[in-house]
């Protein structure tokens, strides 16, 4: 199967739907969605475990409503939500073959993600010092596992997108790398989706006494 089965759009100079222009691209696209389908049940299992063990075994003063802080979580949420938007903007730039804009938006996405991750590290560190740790109770184990899995996903996303950027810095947008960019952006949105449930179920519901 040749690479250029879809003709270039005369204006942009790349095929429309460049992320799915080749069979390889289409395969990647579909495969990645299916992977996300699997990730859905992965996170559901983690959420279920967390819900089952919410506050279980936690000592007085270390329950969810004692320790969670609205402010930090709110800032982290805003950072991640915004990064989802910038990721969309990057993909829109990609589709019109605007390499510069795409890179810019991706770098902003990375920066926002990094900000989010710093917030999380700060938060974990804080909890650790007040005695809410991975081994302090079943609640602790479940909390760090769920939120940590999400954090690890963010970290992986950052590494992935930066590798893509560095690797393709001077290569423009092609039918080979466009699917990769696109799929990484799907991943990034999915991370955001998971976070929406984390801030709702873990933090907000956890703060209601």
């Amino acid at each position: 199967m040749g690479h250029h089965s879809v003709p270039n759009n005369p204006i942009t100079g790349i095929p429309d739907h460049v992320e799915k222009a080749t069979l390889e691209g289409k395969n990647k696209y579909v495969a990645f969605w299916f992977f996300l389908g699997g990730e859905t049940t992965l996170f559901a299992s983690l959420f279920g475990t967390y819900i089952g063990l919410h506050n279980s075994g936690a000592k007085e003063g270390l329950r969810s409503y004692d320790i969670f802080e609205m402010g930090l979580v709110f800032i982290m949420t805003m950072l991640l939500l915004t990064s989802s938007l910038t990721s969309v903007l990057a993909m829109m730039a990609m589709k019109r073959n605007d390499v510069k804009k795409m890179k810019m938006w991706l770098i902003i996405t990375l920066a926002l993600g990094l900000g989010f991750l710093s917030g999380e590290i700060y938060e974990f560190n804080h909890y650790y010092h007040i005695g809410h740790t991975f081994t302090s109770s079943a609640f602790g184990s479940a909390f760090y596992t769920l939120v940590g899995f999400h954090g690890a996903h963010v970290l992986f996303g950052l590494l992935w997108i930066s590798t893509l950027l560095i690797r393709n810095w001077n290569r423009g947008i092609t039918v080979v790398n466009a699917p990769k960019y696109y799929v990484s952006s799907l991943y990034w949105h999915f991370i955001d989706v998971v976070w929406v449930f984390i801030f709702s179920v873990v933090y907000l519901m956890g703060m209601v006494k």
Partner: protein, 109 residues
């Protein structure tokens, strides 16, 4: 590389593309605004302690679901043509996910 001779004048196409793009941009920005709005409501409701415990869960979950719908359909373009199997698989994934969460919520004691 083959050169395509545009049927319409270059200008016309470009204009149309631009219009498309700004439409999409508008859509995305609106979705984003909505997401932020929903988030604010959720945080606000908890902060203001508006709800009794039993109502909070349901309310927050509904807010989250709406927001996730926006992510999937606007940002991730799940509704695009040719995504039938994507939709099927995501729906099944979500179904299984709900079963799992419901179980670990209800069937342990």
């Amino acid at each position: 590389m083959e050169k395509h001779e545009p049927q319409l004048t270059r200008n016309q196409v470009e204009l149309e593309l631009k219009a498309d793009r700004s439409r999409e941009m508008q859509l995305q920005l609106t979705s984003f605004a909505l997401m932020i709005f929903l988030t604010l409501i959720a945080f606000g409701a908890v902060m203001a302690e508006l709800m009794p415990h039993w109502a909070a869960g349901g309310f927050l979950i509904i807010m989250a679901i709406v927001q996730v719908y926006l992510q999937l359909y606007m940002f991730m373009h799940m509704n695009n043509k040719g995504n039938t199997w994507v939709k099927v698989m995501m729906a099944l994934g979500i179904f299984v996910a709900l079963t799992i969460v419901a179980t670990l919520r209800l069937l342990i004691w």
